[in-house]
């Protein structure tokens, strides 16, 4: 999917974002779960992300790589409007999700975030029990029936069930860092999102825990579209289907240099900049 430049506008029928989807059976493969069109992100007057045009394939893993400060995280957080919470942050352009621009006034960011979940850089479980950590999101979203089954299902999907099934009433903080991060993934899954955004989810973990998370991400792509920011190029090469390389221009605004399948981008990059970066000549 080399979609540098403006992608052709998909003729998708508009789905009302405010109607929650009942199942995770989304569009068929090879369609786009989300598209950014001429997306610019600002903090006050500072432009952090410049003219991004990207399509994220449904139920595939897309990695965002690039040097520190190039706007990877800003781009990611713009996709579910988490950046709205940052004072002075705003976005221009469009991000299409089910054919609707998520910046439209009619879109409720709370509903958007329910369907585009997020896992953060540092594991951040709630200071509550493991069970409550997973169940809380579902509960506030109005799911009442059979929370026990949902918790078990989510923990199983996050490959954590066997380790915690006997201590669901213990604090989420009692787990190791890697387990905490998988708990956070289980928590994100429990609200049944379509897309999961991951912001350097393994940067605070040791190599063994990192590997487990990467395996987990591979398993999750059956059901979820995953967009992952990483500063670890081996991780992008190992664990993603598509890779987007971002760099920063002289105004420190991030822009997309190149996007493509991971295999192509790492073996035959089209741009010299990309090759310099992935071969470690800078960054």
């Amino acid at each position: 999917m080399t979609t540098v430049g403006k992608p052709e506008v998909n003729e998708k029928k508009t789905v009302d974002l405010n109607v929650p989807m009942e199942t995770t059976t989304g569009p068929a493969l090879d369609t786009f779960a989300m598209e950014a069109v001429d997306l610019n992100a600002y903090y006050g007057k500072f432009r952090a992300v410049r003219d991004v045009n990207l399509s994220f394939r449904d139920r595939q893993i897309t990695a965002l790589i690039g040097p520190s400060g190039c706007g990877k995280t800003t781009l990611l957080r713009t996709l579910n409007r988490m950046n709205d919470l940052v004072q002075g942050a705003r976005a221009e352009g469009e991000v299409r999700f089910h054919g609707q621009n998520i910046f439209d006034a009619s879109v409720d960011p709370v509903e958007l975030r329910k369907r585009v979940g997020m896992v953060f850089q540092k594991p951040n479980p709630f200071p509550k029990t493991i069970y409550q950590n997973v169940a809380w999101g579902a509960r506030i979203n109005g799911m009442k029936q059979d929370l026990d089954a949902l918790v078990e299902h989510s923990l199983r999907q996050a490959a954590l069930w066997d380790e915690v099934k006997d201590k669901l009433d213990e604090s989420g903080y009692s787990l190791s860092g890697g387990q905490q991060q998988r708990l956070c993934i289980a928590r994100a899954i429990a609200v049944k999102p379509e897309i999961i955004l991951m912001d350097e989810p393994t940067s605070a973990l040791d190599p063994v825990a990192t590997l487990r998370i990467e395996e987990l991400i591979q398993d999750l792509k059956v059901n979820y579209t995953i967009i992952i920011v990483t500063h670890n190029m081996q991780q992008a090469a190992r664990a993603s289907d598509h890779t987007v390389f971002l760099n920063m221009d002289s105004d420190r605004a991030g822009y997309v240099v190149e996007a493509g399948t991971t295999g192509t981008l790492f073996t035959r990059p089209a741009r010299q900049e990309t090759e310099d970066y992935i071969t470690g000549r800078f960054g």
Binding site: M82, P127, C184, A188
Partner: protein
């Protein structure tokens, strides 16, 4: 000028020969250290002096002159020598009263509370029954149970023995100069007995205010303080915490919130007497119809305009409101942002995240700040003088629309009395106030420690 390198300084032995410059630096360091130690010593000395002065006045020898000696009274009822008044039967004690006080006074006591459930001593039963039927209001004796043994004994001591304290000595002279004190007392008060008295006692805590220092207590002031603090808390806690949540979680950072924030910070430093003036203008005068309780039909003449517990509580509530807001803001700010992000990323509304994650984690900090603010309110005097706390009141507050006094004002009033004994009970009242404040501060510290252990 470049400092000499290791080669230039010429070997390891130089380590032992300190240069003039080094000695100067060391000397300066020593001076600074001594100055800091001096500051600490002054502070500690001031604190120790305060405590010692208070303790010195709270305990000590007193010279007591009895109108009639207890031994003589006991003997008059045919008990052997050395029997204490308390060992007499209730019948004997009442008989002593009968012999010792006028019938009129006895009747008054009996209308207040009967001596025996089955018979009358001073009053005529028919008269009392008539009063119970027709009196408006009926005398308390109609519904109170009969006086207990210890109540009768206290009455005998107060009215028949009639001890008066004619001289008091401080704790230190009582302990270290006892001989001098005894010689002086024997010469000056020949009929008096010397006894050691702790001005701070349980009786002192539970007795109502009285013009007689020997039997005066702080119950009235203590209840007044508790009532006022209750109103203060009920007013300022929800409003303060609510404002703090809005400022921290909802308000955008702009010029308006910056101005608000600055003003809140400044309000925390406004002298408390100003709040007193504000309370006088708003609560006592403008809102008199509400604060006097007349809108409920309660109150009446006894409430004396708007100078009630409600006015005092609301005034102190205004006073500690900025403190509570600032403390609550700090507690809320201390909740890691990652928790908010985690909550919001799950598709929760702002309020759901605040209620489920921010508030539970900020609560210990909020409570700690609130306790400290309440401690401040408990010790405030100036604004309540302005708002109109009664300086002399012997009836307990009966509700939020009562007249009142509070501990610090009681202390202030006692210290301005000419008799020595009032200074002693003022010291004892200060001890009670200090214990209250220390208890609150300890609670705050315990809460804080418990909280920091839990998150660690």
């Amino acid at each position: 000028m470049t400092p000499p390198g290791p080669e230039a300084s010429g070997g390891a032995s130089d380590l032992l020969q300190t240069s003039a410059q080094m000695r100067r630096r060391q000397r300066r360091g020593l001076v600074a250290r001594l100055a800091l130690l001096g500051a600490l010593m002054v502070a500690v000395a001031a604190l120790v002096t305060l405590i010692v002065t208070i303790l010195n006045s709270s305990f000590g020898l007193v010279a007591v002159e009895n109108e009639r000696s207890p031994g003589e009274l006991v003997a008059s009822r045919g008990y052997p020598e050395g029997t204490a008044l308390g060992d007499l039967t209730k019948e004997d004690l009442v008989a002593l009263l009968e012999a010792g006080i006028s019938t009129n006074l006895g009747r008054r006591f009996e209308r207040e509370q009967r001596f025996f459930g089955d018979r009358m001593v001073f009053e005529d039963l028919y008269v009392l029954n008539d009063l119970c039927m027709a009196g408006d209001p009926p005398p308390p004796a109609c519904y109170l149970p009969a006086r207990s043994h210890s109540q009768v004994e206290a009455l005998v001591v107060e009215r028949v023995v009639e001890p008066t304290i004619v001289g008091t000595w401080s704790f230190f002279s009582s302990v270290f100069n006892r001989d001098d004190v005894e010689a002086y007392a024997a010469e000056k008060y020949p009929g008096a007995e010397l006894e050691f008295r702790s001005w701070l006692s349980w009786d002192f805590v539970v007795n109502p205010q009285s013009p007689e220092p020997a039997i005066a207590g702080i119950r009235t002031a203590l209840l007044g303080s508790l009532w006022v603090v209750l109103i203060t808390l009920a007013f300022s806690f929800p409003i303060g915490v609510g404002a703090a949540i809005y400022l921290e979680e909802y308000a955008r950072e702009n010029r308006l919130t910056a101005i608000l924030q600055t003003n809140i910070n400044n309000l925390a430093g406004v002298p408390s007497i100003i709040y007193g003036m504000l309370g006088l203008a708003i609560f006592v005068r403008t809102l008199e119809a509400i604060t006097s309780g007349s809108f409920l039909g309660t109150g009446g003449e006894a409430t004396a305009n708007g100078r009630t517990i409600v006015s005092a509580g609301l005034t102190l509530g205004l006073l500690i409101l900025p403190i509570i807001i600032i403390n609550a803001q700090e507690a809320i700010r201390a909740v890691p942002g990652s928790l908010r992000q985690a909550g919001m990323a799950l598709g929760s509304t702002r309020w759901q995240t605040v209620r489920s994650h921010v508030l539970p984690n900020a609560l210990p900090g909020i409570l700690t700040g609130t306790i400290l603010a309440v401690a401040r309110a408990l010790g405030e005097t100036a604004p309540l003088v302005v708002v109109g706390a009664s300086t002399f009141i012997t009836t307990d507050p009966s509700g939020p629309f009562s007249k009142f006094t509070v501990l610090p004002i009681q202390i202030y009033q006692w210290t301005s009395r000419p008799q020595d004994e009032f200074r002693n009970i003022a010291a004892a009242a200060i001890l009670v106030l200090l214990v209250l404040l220390l208890t609150l501060n300890t609670a705050a510290v315990i809460l804080r420690n418990k909280y920091s252990r839990r998150t660690a």
